[in-house]
């Protein structure tokens, strides 16, 4: 049962990275050019999905709290700066996207757009750092608490954070290629194609630094799974490049979605059976079973939430279906 909840947690967090990822990617791309019409078009493309994307993060943390309370406390407080950074980013994007269109003046809008760009970078960097931190392990003491935060400041964590920023930018550009009116989609498609090598380089750099890090090598309980999932990630990026070149934005978007989801699977599988690896005392490492809530809690959550999962997914799917296809002049404008 713990495994099922762990998988569900991974599913929700990965979905957040995929869905929130293109919000942040589109947010990042607001930085290119200051043409108001182009920014308007990009925000219209995200429009109806924006509110529904972020809820996956809140739900993921809800599952983390309800089903893995011990992990929740140590993970969030152990990665304090990374989580605070990501959180600040999420808040800035949420507020910025909605606020930018309230004033009518172009200068005020440009200012809020800058807030969205900064927020998107922070969110991507922060979640990348959290994932890398999990892979690298934390100084978890025998008393169960993580000491200090300096463990986060390593080259590997920095590289992984940047890699997620690159992935998110690519994902956002691919999303726009899929959603914008055909005429506007071509230049953004070329941009996406140019971002693939950037993302590959960033992932490569993070991999090399990870392999060089003794902590990462020690924390990897299942190195084979890690390598396998990493090669899948690289394959997904290459597939996105091919699909973009052949003007198949749907396929390319599926590939970049996979590229955003795979890091979560990679981290979860590589440190399995642990959920939080201790770098200083192997016996203090927290396994998934130890991190989970006790059986009555999991059973209760299962009874109350699992029957509702189809409804959750169904209403999200309804949102995607109602607003499917490319945006056009008739697309509703709000953000």
């Amino acid at each position: 049962m713990e495994l099922a909840w762990y998988a569900l947690l991974g599913l929700f967090f990965a979905s957040y990275l995929v869905l929130g990822g293109y919000d942040y990617g589109v947010g990042l791309l607001l930085a290119r050019g200051t043409d108001p019409a182009r920014r308007r078009a990009a925000l219209n493309a995200v429009g109806p999905f924006f509110l529904g994307n972020e809820v996956w993060l809140v739900a993921a943390v809800g599952i983390l709290f309800g089903a893995f309370p011990v992990l929740e406390g140590e993970l969030l407080s152990g990665f304090y700066p990374a989580v605070c950074g990501a959180l600040t980013g999420v808040v800035l994007v949420t507020a910025g996207v909605q606020l930018r269109s309230r004033p009518a003046g172009q200068r005020a809008r440009a200012w809020w757009d800058r807030v969205v760009v900064v927020g998107s970078v922070l969110a991507a960097l922060g979640w990348g750092a959290v994932l890398a931190g999990l892979l690298q392990g934390v100084p978890l003491h025998a008393d169960g608490h993580v000491a200090g935060v300096t463990h986060l400041f390593t080259p590997f964590v920095a590289a992984a954070g940047l890699a997620v920023v690159a992935l998110v930018a690519l994902h956002g550009a691919t999303f726009l290629t899929l959603r914008l009116p055909t005429a506007d989609a071509a230049p953004v498609g070329r941009l996406a194609a140019r971002l693939v090598p950037v993302a590959l380089t960033a992932v490569g750099a993070a991999t090399v630094l990870g392999l060089l890090s003794a902590d990462v090598r020690a924390a990897a309980g299942q190195p084979v799974a890690g390598i396998l999932l990493l090669s899948l990630l690289v394959t997904a990026l290459l597939a996105a490049r091919v699909a973009l070149a052949r003007r198949r934005p749907g396929l390319a978007f599926a590939a970049t979605c996979a590229a955003l989801a795979l890091p979560v699977a990679l981290v979860g599988a590589t440190i399995w059976p642990h959920a939080l690896v201790s770098t200083i005392e192997p016996s203090a490492s927290l396994t998934v079973t130890e991190a989970a809530a006790s059986t009555p809690t999991l059973r209760l959550l299962g009874w109350l939430t699992l029957p509702l999962l189809p409804a959750l997914l169904g209403f999200q799917a309804m949102c995607w279906w109602v607003f499917r296809g490319r945006t056009d002049g008739r697309a509703p404008v709000y953000w």
Binding site: F65, P69, R102, A104, A293, T305, V333
Partner: protein, 416 residues
């Protein structure tokens, strides 16, 4: 400097700011459901225009409120890791349920509602708003289940120092839950009603265009707040029985507290088990404001023949009374939460064991950072609400025809 004190201060700041948003959200969504339902049933344009105007204010507040809510949710893990470690098995469950079954759907529905004007059938569009409102109330319910458990832990047993869930129905049956939930929900309705009445009063005083629309807003707002304050007072006083039974130390001077404190001293060591006087101060001023707002009933007879508008003084009063329900709500939470001290979970987990072992400097940095960020959001929210409220129902961005260019954003000067 003390990590515990800073963490408590951060919790107080973020919760207070968060709740300013929550109350407006919960109050306005209820009124919006009424407005849009009336619009679909009667087909009168005034209701659709009211829905768009108030919907716009609601959405501004909602989206900025999400940002504060996300910070709240993460704060438990960031600053109070002991809470998840020792009582997470029980306390985490209602929070997890809230995010999954309530908030998740609420935002999904709202996204479709915002962008669904002119695109979805009217019935579907209305159903989405009903969905938003129902999940918003479900959210309030589960959050209050979690909060009530901290006030009065029930349905658990402690094994190896960790609380385990034994009886979930006890959480739903918690004596500190029902009256408090009623109190909070009707207080939110009071806030929504007073906001609607005050904004409409502002327009009526300045004789802006759209007299009929704002007159309707004033009447709906005034009647809603008058009904709400009655229930706020009722649910508020009804809580004293439960508090006296299960939290005798909350407001001090209760003879029932002495044996409890003796028991705690035996189990947790000697210490100061009475909450700071702030809890009582909050309670006193809140009750004072509650009684003052009870005078809203005096305005109801003035609705006859629009005397409330013709006399003008009631409009001024409504405008200036708007901060009162917000202040009362913060004071109410101070009474409830400070009165829980020194416990994170009453009689079970002291705050000093619940706080995360992070350095005070880090805690100070996050306190300053998040207070500034959320404070800025609250100020922005109020400036925006005021600006959009003042702009009037002329042409809100919400529900505008997609191919129609926005009208002149400045309100027309009123020469009426």
């Amino acid at each position: 400097m003390d990590t515990l004190f800073l963490a408590r201060l951060q919790f107080a700041t973020t919760t207070s700011i968060h709740f300013l948003f929550v109350a407006v959200t919960l109050g306005l969504v209820t009124l919006l459901v009424g407005l849009q339902t009336a619009s679909v049933i009667t087909n009168k344009p005034v209701y659709e225009r009211l829905t768009r105007f108030w919907g716009q204010l609601y959405v501004i507040n909602y989206v900025l409120g999400i940002a504060t809510g996300i910070v709240m949710e993460f704060q438990f893990g960031l600053n109070w890791s002991g809470l998840s470690r020792y009582v997470g098995n029980v306390f985490g469950a209602p929070l997890a349920i809230e995010t999954l079954v309530a908030f998740f759907l609420e935002s999904t529905f709202l996204g479709m509602w915002i962008f669904g004007w002119h695109r979805l059938r009217r019935g579907v569009h209305l159903a989405l708003l009903w969905g938003v409102a129902i999940t918003a109330y479900a959210s309030a319910f589960w959050i209050m289940v979690a909060n009530s458990w901290l006030q009065n832990p029930v349905g658990y047993e402690v094994r190896d120092g960790v609380a385990h869930l034994t009886d979930f129905s006890a959480l739903l049956d918690n004596p500190t839950l029902h009256m408090a939930l009623g109190h909070v929900v009707t207080a939110a309705l009071l806030v929504g009603g007073m906001l609607m009445a005050a904004v409409s009063a502002w327009h009526l005083l300045r004789r802006t265009p759209d007299f009929a629309l704002h007159r309707k807003g004033l009447r709906i707002g005034l009647v809603t707040s008058a009904v709400a304050i009655f229930f706020v007072q009722g649910f508020g006083f009804a809580q004293f029985f439960a508090i006296g039974d299960v939290q005798p130390t909350k407001f001090g001077d209760d003879p029932a507290a002495a044996p409890l404190i003796a028991d705690w001293t035996a189990r947790f060591g000697p210490g100061d088990y009475t909450p700071p006087a702030l809890a009582n101060v909050g309670l006193g001023f809140m009750i004072l404001i509650g009684f003052t707002l009870g005078l809203l009933w005096l305005m109801l007879p003035l609705l006859w023949r629009d005397w409330v508008i013709r006399l003008r003084v009631p409009l001024w009063i409504l405008q200036f009374a708007l901060p009162l329900p917000f202040v009362a709500m913060i004071l109410g939470w101070i009474a409830r939460e400070v009165g829980r001290q020194p416990w994170a979970a009453y009689g079970l987990l002291p705050v000093d064991q619940a706080v995360s072992p992070v350095s005070p400097w880090l805690m100070l940095a996050s306190l300053i950072g998040f207070s500034l960020l959320l404070g800025a959001l609250a100020v922005t929210n109020w400036v925006l609400l005021a600006r959009h409220a003042a702009r009037g129902a002329h042409d809100p961005a919400l529900g505008r025809q997609p191919d129609q260019p926005p009208a002149d954003p400045r309100p027309e000067p009123a020469f009426a």
